[in-house]
């Protein structure tokens, strides 16, 4: 071999690089092919799922957005594969010297070729004699090298993936073979789901307004506020472009769920922001929140006032007390000024018939003897599927009011729920006053559902309970009697506390404020943030699922009718609500047990239990005042040991420790200097003080 070693190595390196480039190209092609198969498979997946009788998830079923999503994902994937190939090539490509190192390692020639290459490249000028020895040896070695280029390494993983993906792809049906899917396919080509009905849009508009109000609540956590704003923006976008309602609803729902999750994890309010609110505003916000049933806000404000009483001077306490006084004076009991817009009186908002056309076909009213049909709550969501507004004559058939003696047997506290929703009210003979359209509950299924609950008792009073239901409408419209009483009680508590604060008392009012905050938090009033958030989420969910059903159903008419037949639903609820609303004069008088509410109050009715009497759990007598533990009971440690221990526990060294260290080190150093310490131990001692030096 007469060629200089460097030429030989250069030639081998080029051959190796060509081989590496081919390998990486093959690997990238295999991955790209696998990605292409996945993309096509993804496009065909809904058909595959349909063939298996599985409903495609909403995101996947969105035929309008799916193709563009596929294109974007495929582009990103392709870019990633190409980049990866380039990076791999750059890493694997070799240079002559690097190849020499690799060959040295393979042939165990102990850097012979690399050293010879360095000599030939003029990187070193060794003794000529020894350089000749090295070069001669290297040439001898290189002449025996048969295959300097690494063997072809096929992209087995990429090819295996391609095979698996292709096999899976083969199992998916093609796009158009299923006749029953043709309609869906056509529908998928249409831009989006049908536009939302006006009524639903109006409701969503109101929900957006409610969210806007929520956003303005003081001291709300920033994350929650931004999620609410995001949800509101999506809802507002529906008003501008109803054709994209489905996507907007999904995003709004997600944002609201995030807000809920955030609130349950971190709480609704930001303690720092609360701390920045001045006393006047704090007191005013608390009282207004009490009046509008926003127990979350009221509790947070009360808690903050309690916190401020800690270490407060007499003047501060007096200021707080006066602020509360003024807030009490400026806030009228039961005033609706602060009521949330989302909770307009039932009569206005309730247009139960809006959503349901099926109700027309349904004749539930006739058949509907409330007792029989009256489990609307269970069958659920009457507002959506259909309703009764028009057909709602059930009131006639059920004159429950007459027979209903629900409350005689009732004991409010136990069943809990009925309190709010199911107070049948003797007077609530729904038929009399109720034109459902007017008084109908806003259509939140839960609210009406509650009435069903009471209906479940299957006694004449049931229909009366339906009337009660309307009472539940009161949730959205105005406070129930129980709630009013509760608010009045809280006002009284606040008045008393204000007086005590003014007189400079801190400890008692503080614990009472905290108890009050706790009670309010447990109560979850109708205007509470939590409830408002639930309500908004529920509205959005319903609208979205309705849209989704509409889209999947194509025109949706045929199906709509079929469902509308649902007897129980239409009748029970529609009527019950309508009537009760208008009439329910004595909702509070119903004795809960009569309703045998049996639970399932439904979402809106929920919480009951205190609907009538205040069944808030009595304060736990055993609890007593909070126990205080004095962490310093044993008294502080004294002297140097204390500082050394603190340091040993990982605390930052303070000036005391520095003094101790300096003093001890001086003593040790003096001993070392006096040669009292063996020579071999002196270094240990110095090292020790070095190791425990404060900085």
């Amino acid at each position: 071999m007469n060629l200089p070693l460097s030429n030989l190595l250069r030639r081998w390196a080029q051959a190796t690089n060509r081989r590496v480039a081919m390998e990486e190209f093959a690997r990238a092609v295999a991955w790209l092919a696998a990605g292409g198969v996945v993309a096509i498979g993804f496009k065909r997946l809904p058909h595959g799922l349909a063939a298996l009788g599985i409903d495609a998830p909403p995101g996947l079923a969105d035929a309008a957005t799916r193709p563009s999503a596929i294109v974007w994902i495929a582009a990103a994937f392709a870019l990633g594969v190409v980049l990866r190939g380039v990076i791999r090539f750059v890493r694997r490509r070799t240079a002559p010297f690097r190849l020499a190192r690799a060959l040295d390692a393979r042939l165990q020639t102990r850097d012979l070729l690399a050293t010879a290459w360095a000599i030939e490249a003029g990187m070193i000028q060794p003794d000529p004699g020894l350089a000749a020895v090295v070069l001669e040896r290297a040439r001898g070695t290189s002449s025996g090298i048969i295959a300097p280029v690494a063997p072809w390494s096929s992209p087995t993983r990429a090819l295996a993936t391609l095979g698996i993906v292709a096999a899976a792809f083969g199992l998916l049906p093609t796009e158009a073979p299923l006749p029953e899917l043709a309609g869906t396919a056509n529908a998928a080509e249409t831009p989006t789901a049908p536009p939302l009905p006006d009524a639903v849009r109006e409701r969503l508009a109101r929900t957006a307004e409610a969210l806007a109000k929520l956003e303005r609540r003081p001291a709300l956590r920033e994350a929650t506020r931004s999620k609410l704003a995001e949800a509101r923006a999506h809802l507002e976008s529906i008003q501008r472009d109803p054709s994209k309602s489905l996507g907007a609803l999904s995003r709004a729902e997600k944002a609201l769920r995030d807000a809920q999750r955030e609130a349950s994890r971190e709480g609704l309010f930001d303690p720092a922001a609360l701390g920045r609110i001045d006393a006047e505003t704090l007191a005013r916000e608390m009282m207004e929140a009490i009046e509008r049933g926003d127990t979350d806000t009221a509790a947070a404000m009360a808690e903050e006032i309690a916190r401020r009483t800690e270490d407060a001077s007499d003047a501060d306490l007096e200021k707080l007390g006066k602020a509360m006084d003024r807030a009490l004076q400026n806030t009228e009991p039961g005033s609706t000024a602060s009521r949330e817009p989302g909770s307009t009186p039932a009569g206005e908002s309730g247009k139960p018939g809006e959503s349901g056309k099926p109700g027309e076909s349904g004749t539930p009213g006739e058949s509907g003897k409330p007792g029989e049909s009256g489990k609307p709550g269970e069958s659920g969501t009457p507002g959506e599927s259909g309703t009764p507004g028009e057909s709602g004559t059930p009131g006639e058939s059920g004159k429950p009011g007459e027979s209903g003696k629900p409350r005689e047997s009732g004991t409010p506290g136990e069943s809990g729920t009925p309190g709010e929703s199911g107070k049948p009210g003797e007077s609530g003979t729904p038929g009399e006053s109720g034109t459902p359209g007017e008084s109908g509950a806003p259509g939140l299924p839960g609210e009406s559902g509650a009435s069903g609950e009471s209906g479940a008792s299957g006694q004449p009073g049931e229909s009366g309970s339906a009337g009660e239901e309307s009472g539940s409408g009161g949730e959205s419209g105005g406070p129930t009697r129980g709630e009013s009483e509760r608010r009045a009680r809280w006002r009284n508590d606040a008045e008393r506390l204000a007086e005590r604060l003014r007189s400079g008392e801190a400890g008692g009012p503080r614990s009472e404020l905290r108890e009050l905050a706790e009670r309010m938090r447990e109560r979850s009033g109708s205007g509470s943030l939590e409830r408002e958030l639930d309500r908004a989420l529920e509205d959005v969910e319903r609208a979205r699922s309705r849209q989704f059903e509409e889209m999947n159903r194509g025109e949706g008419e045929g199906e709509g009718e079929g469902e509308g037949e649902g007897e129980g639903k239409g009748e029970g609820e529609g009527e019950g609500e309508g009537e009760g609303k208008g009439k329910g004069k004595r909702p509070g008088s119903g004795s809960p047990r009569a309703g045998r509410p049996g639970g399932k109050p439904g979402p809106g009715g929920g919480r009951g239990g205190d609907g009538y009497g205040d069944v808030s759990p009595p304060p736990d007598a055993s609890r007593g005042p909070a126990e205080q533990v004095d962490a310093q009971a044993a008294g502080p440690m004294r002297g140097a040991v204390r500082y050394i221990e603190r340091m040993a526990q990982g605390q930052r060294p303070g000036p005391e420790y520095r003094d101790v260290h300096r003093e001890y080190q001086d003593i040790a150093e003096a001993a070392v200097r006096r040669e009292q310490i063996p020579l071999t131990r002196r270094d240990y001692i110095r090292s020790y003080f070095e190791a425990v030096r404060p900085d």
Partner: protein, 342 residues
């Protein structure tokens, strides 16, 4: 035994023969020393590396393991002038370097004559060097560094080849003066004498307790050793090998980016640039001993322990946890990667 190594010709055309003959000569020397110092093959190899590099060696081991014998046998095998200095606390510098003495000539005139001390030898054994005071140690260390001593204002060169082999005992440290780090750095290698295995111990018993006293045969001429010392300096070192030695040295510093977690925790100060020089020089000698005209990264690894073990100053944590420098060097060798230029 003619093992003279030819120097390079004016045309610079030594062949493999030069390396091969060096390898033969060194092999014979090693065999002869091992015959007397049984079971310490690695120690003998490292001592020869010290000799080839003109470095000084520090030998540490428990009493009775053959530290003194090693140096004595080396001197006998190469026909070197040997002297031994037993270091004690009352040893004075003049006891090592020699002094000027007032003498009277035949005419009765007084004059100062220089009486050379034991340092004037080719191979000096400084036994238990840590028992002398720092002042006396300094006198020795100056001679080690300069290969010369200055007495009475006159600088006197020491004979070549010159090598100091100092021994110290790791136990019985009471009343000793451990060598400061700066002075430790002047020893090219620190050799540790391990306890022999059971079989070796038995063999030592059989060989050394007979009636006849074993003698050392001459295995190499003094001039040959000087030639070999020159040849070592010519052994080819490629840039990537030097880079590896530098990386290894750099990695001993706790503040270096390439330092391992162990080094950061257990080392207070890393090795000096002199350590890097020692790595390459010892690597050259090791390559020659292996019969190669060039140094490989593996040669640097092979000599890393004796070169680095006394040059890293352990932290207090290392002392507390009983972490030895040998273990740290093991970690370095395992973690510092081969040089991989683009």
């Amino acid at each position: 035994m003619n093992t003279a190594i030819p120097t390079s010709s004016p045309h610079g055309a030594p062949t493999d023969d030069r390396i091969a003959r060096a390898q033969d000569a060194l092999g014979a020397l090693k065999t002869e020393i091992e015959r007397r110092l049984f079971g310490q093959s690695n120690l003998v190899l490292q001592a020869i590396i010290g000799l080839l590099t003109r470095g000084n060696i520090l030998i540490e081991g428990q009493p009775g393991l053959g530290k003194t014998l090693l140096v004595k046998v080396m001197a006998e095998a190469i026909d070197l002038e040997f002297s031994r200095i037993q270091f004690t606390p009352d040893l004075m510098p003049a006891d090592i370097t020699g002094s000027q003495t007032l003498m009277h000539d035949e005419h009765g005139r007084a004059r100062l004559d220089f009486r050379a001390g034991p340092i004037f030898a080719n191979l000096v054994l400084a036994d238990e060097v840590n028992r002398a005071t720092p002042k006396t140690q300094s006198a020795l260390l100056e001679a080690m560094q300069e290969h010369a001593v200055t007495v009475g204002g006159v600088r006197r060169a020491l004979p070549e080849p010159f090598l100091v082999a100092a021994t110290q005992n790791p136990i019985e440290m009471e009343g000793t003066y451990p060598l400061p780090e700066a002075q430790l750095d002047r020893f090219l290698l620190k050799l540790e004498v391990p306890f022999p295995s059971f079989e070796d111990l038995r063999e030592i018993g059989l060989r050394t307790t007979g009636r006849t006293e074993d003698t050392t045969a001459r295995a190499m001429e003094r001039q040959t050793m000087i030639d070999l010392q020159n040849l070592v300096r010519d052994i080819v070192v490629a840039p990537h090998v030097a880079e590896f030695a530098a990386s290894l040295t750099m990695a001993t510093h706790p503040e270096a980016q390439s330092a391992t977690a162990d080094i950061k925790r257990f080392v207070r100060y890393g090795a000096s640039p002199r350590a890097m020089q020692a790595l390459i020089l010892a690597g050259r000698a090791y390559a020659l001993l292996c019969g190669r005209a060039w140094v490989a990264e593996d040669d640097i690894r092979a000599v890393a322990h004796p070169v680095l073990r006394h040059r890293m100053i352990p932290s207090f944590d290392a002392k507390l946890e009983g972490i030895t420098n040998n273990r740290l060097v093991d970690g370095l060798i395992a973690t510092v990667p081969n040089v991989r230029p683009g």
